[in-house]
């Protein structure tokens, strides 16, 4: 068995008697929608990472916080694990169900509770779609900044759980920079408020700790986000390069010129062609790489910045530079990028999207490493890159119907992430660890660091009932994975069996 799937490595999960759990929950919360027939459970067997599928024991679809609270209390009392799911668009299997667990689906909490233009905040339920917040704020000239590519479908609760990013992170930050306050229900069924409408709150920054914690510490039931005034104007420049390295250097030159673009994206040839075939964005299909550079802000400054960036791009060897002439063309330039994943999906029966981050200066070396892995494996790899903040999205093309290809794609993916770690980066910039990258956590962190993560988990969820088997690997798993780092010439946990 592939060790990724071997759940025994993640600690034992007690077998549950489905009928007993169902009877208990139905009695405790009579008005709760609980799905338990196989045909009803089937739609929930995976999230956005569809290569992993597990049928949950039960699916709960609460509509009130009292239902969530009682559900948590009962699951805590019964020792039944709970996996929380939002819109199910996550790309790392963070909402992958457990055979022996309850899948808590928050999608019915989809009300925008308040948009306060004077305070510049919106208070929303976790099932509200990311884009719906900006749409509700638009009449006031405001918007919610983080914009993951899945923003038409993904929900804000999931965004908080994953600390979602998007194409405007370098300037406007991640979810953690744009959330002021969350309401949480703990596994013990307690309600608590983290953060405040003020800029800070007393005590530890638990809001930051919960952001990106992948449903491992509590269930997020309400979110207050910051709204920003819409920039007066936004202009996009598209630069073509005959060499990926030149494009990479141009990114550094733009930053060196003292400019923080609203968005700065790179795509390689395979991604350019896929996007052009799909959305006819007007991309130069002969180019080895393109850069999309969006400059936003006050009209006069943006005009100055466009001139500066144009000069930088020319000096960096761009073969062609186009500036979107109007809003329609700007939207078209971005449509190619935002649809890059499905576009690549059309070229291949399956694709596997990675999410490593690197210091930007390491880009040429890492791209070469990816090309080498692609060549060795025979699998094509398209590269889409949040160039401004060093977040890479290599897309590995494969066919799951060909025996062994999924495993090969996973192997190539894992190696790409290890390349990122070696370059001083991280295995995930915005998609989360989930189930998918649980093994690579062992490459990024030392056993002592992983032990510290377990300590944090134990403070909030002593019995490991919230989303077990995700995000933080057990030391047993790391030992098995064989990536255990040797520290000061001795193994840090000699007591652990190594197989």
């Amino acid at each position: 068995m592939n060790i990724l799937y071997d759940e025994h490595l993640d600690g034992t999960i007690a077998p549950q008697d489905k009928a007993d759990v169902l009877a208990d929950l139905s009695q405790a919360i009579p008005d709760l929608t609980l799905l338990h027939h196989e045909e009803d459970l089937r739609p929930f067997e995976c999230d956005g990472l569809s290569v992993y599928q597990v049928l949950p024991m039960l699916v709960a679809l609460p509509e009130t916080l009292d239902q969530v609270e009682t559900l948590m209390r009962r699951c805590h009392a019964l020792g039944v694990p709970v996996v929380t799911r939002g819109a199910g668009t996550g790309l790392s299997g963070g909402a992958l169900p457990l055979e022996q667990g309850v899948l808590l689906v928050m999608s019915r909490f989809k009300r925008i509770l308040e948009v306060d233009p004077e305070a510049r905040v919106a208070r929303v339920q976790p099932g509200v779609r990311n884009l719906a917040i900006s749409e509700a704020a638009a009449p006031h000239g405001l918007y919610y900044a983080p914009d993951p590519s899945s923003q038409i479908a993904c929900s804000i609760g999931g965004n908080v759980a994953e600390n979602a990013g998007g194409v405007h992170c370098l300037k406007y930050g991640l979810t953690v920079h744009n959330v002021l306050k969350v309401e949480v229900i703990t596994i013990e069924g307690e309600r608590m408020t983290l953060g405040a409408e003020a800029f800070d709150a007393p005590g530890f920054d638990l809001l930051a700790l919960f952001t990106g914690s992948e449903g491992m510490l509590g269930v997020i039931t309400e979110i207050t986000v910051k709204l920003l005034p819409k920039p007066e104007t936004a202009k996009v420049l598209m630069a073509s390069f005959d060499d990926v390295e030149k494009a990479g250097r141009a990114v550094g030159e733009i930053i060196a010129a003292g400019i923080i673009p609203g968005g700065l994206e790179m795509m390689d040839k395979l991604a350019i062609r896929a996007a052009e075939d799909f959305v006819k964005a007007g991309y130069p299909v002969e180019a080895e790489a393109i850069l999309l550079c969006e400059l936003d802000g006050v009209e006069a400054d943006v005009a100055d910045d466009c001139e500066t960036v144009r000069r930088v791009l020319e000096a960096a060897g761009a073969t062609d530079i186009q500036q979107a002439r109007d809003e329609a063309e700007r939207a078209r330039f971005w449509a190619g990028r935002k649809n890059a994943f499905p576009a690549v999906g059309r070229m291949s029966p399956d694709y596997y999207c990675m999410d490593g981050t690197i210091p930007r200066r390491e880009l040429p070396g890492v791209l070469k490493g990816i090309a080498r892995l692609s060549e060795e494996s025979g699998l094509r790899v398209a590269n889409v890159f949040h160039a401004g903040d060093g977040n890479m999205h290599p897309l590995i093309l494969f066919d799951a119907n060909q025996p062994g290809e999924l495993e090969l794609a996973e192997d190539v993916g894992g190696r790409i992430l290890e390349l990122c770690v070696e370059a001083g980066g991280s295995i995930t910039g915005e998609h989360g660890v989930g189930r998918e990258k649980i093994n690579q956590m062992c490459a990024q962190f030392q056993p002592d660091e992983i032990t510290a993560f377990h300590a944090v988990k134990a403070a909030f969820d002593e019995h490991r009932l919230l989303n077990p088997g995700k995000n933080i690997p057990t030391l047993q798993r790391c030992a098995e994975f064989g990536a255990m780092h040797v520290h000061n010439n001795e193994l840090s946990h000699p007591e652990l069996p190594r197989f």
Partner: protein
Amino acid sequence: MPEQYTSPRDQDASAELGEQIRQADAAGSPLRIVGGDTRSFYGRTVEGTPLSLANHRGITHYDPVELIVSVRAGTPLEELEAALDAEGQMLGCEPPRFGEASTVGGMVASGLSGPRRPWSGAVRDFVLGTRVIDRAGRELRFGGEVMKNVAGYDLSRLMVGAQGTLGVVSEVSMKVLPKPAASASLHLDMPLEKALDRLTEWGRQPLPITAAAYLQGALHLRLEGGASSVTATRERLGGDELKDGFWQALRDMRLPFFAGDSRPLWRLSLPNHTPPLSLEGDTLFDWGGAQRWLKSDATAEEVRAAASRYDGHATCLGARDAQGRLQGAAEPFMPLAPVIAKYHRRLKAELDPNGIFNPGRLYGDF
């Protein structure tokens, strides 16, 4: 490391610090963690053996094009900011300094940010990674030198403002920003209510404001950004030029408002557009009204009730002594809700079971 970022006083003392911590943990002997010791007023008094980070100093990595700097905790803020300034960059959180001894570690531990905070972000927003010495004396690494990193829990940001109670932050990696191309500061005489209304109105417009304070009957504004927008906004708003050094003095609590007074000084953190609170005393408004400094003889209960009514909180820094130093308070920080307090204690018990890291610095029970 290019030579211009190094200093002859740079030193890696992590091994010695680790050994001191390991021994303290074995003996169950509390440590009082100290950098420049300029922020002792900001928290409760800690009884413990001093653990000095002052010799653990120096920039360990700085690549201006990556917009990231890594620096040891004992490095004076002044030294770090001078190195950034030489490259046309800055710390976006504009951290206060309370003397030249103020260190990077103190900035992280206190989490205090300057006038730019509402527009740019707080210390925690710019922290990308930390090295933390745990109770066993091991230097652990969380986050890193990349802009985006969601692997594992965000222990780096958890350390910001935790005042050393969860471990010793020995090094920090931060995102830095280019300095704005143009800057102008002005003050406009107007009544407080009008100033707050204006700020609410301007908050919904893409104006290049990066600081807004109200004191002495005038709204004080800083405009930063491209030359075109700063000039245009400056002309549109009118008002009089503000003298150099005002924002640094506000940041570091050196304005006359903060000088000798027998009344306790409070820091109130409130949502945008909170109306003036009905508390006796003198108030200086910073952060566009979201951070208020109050000198008042009102009781702690009165001040805290007024702040919580608006979902804010209040911190007491005490009165000044004869030398003008803030005295701190017995219970500076707002009491936590019982369930939140419970998870604070649990987190502390997990990461510092022997209670050696700055015990009682935030609250009496951990």
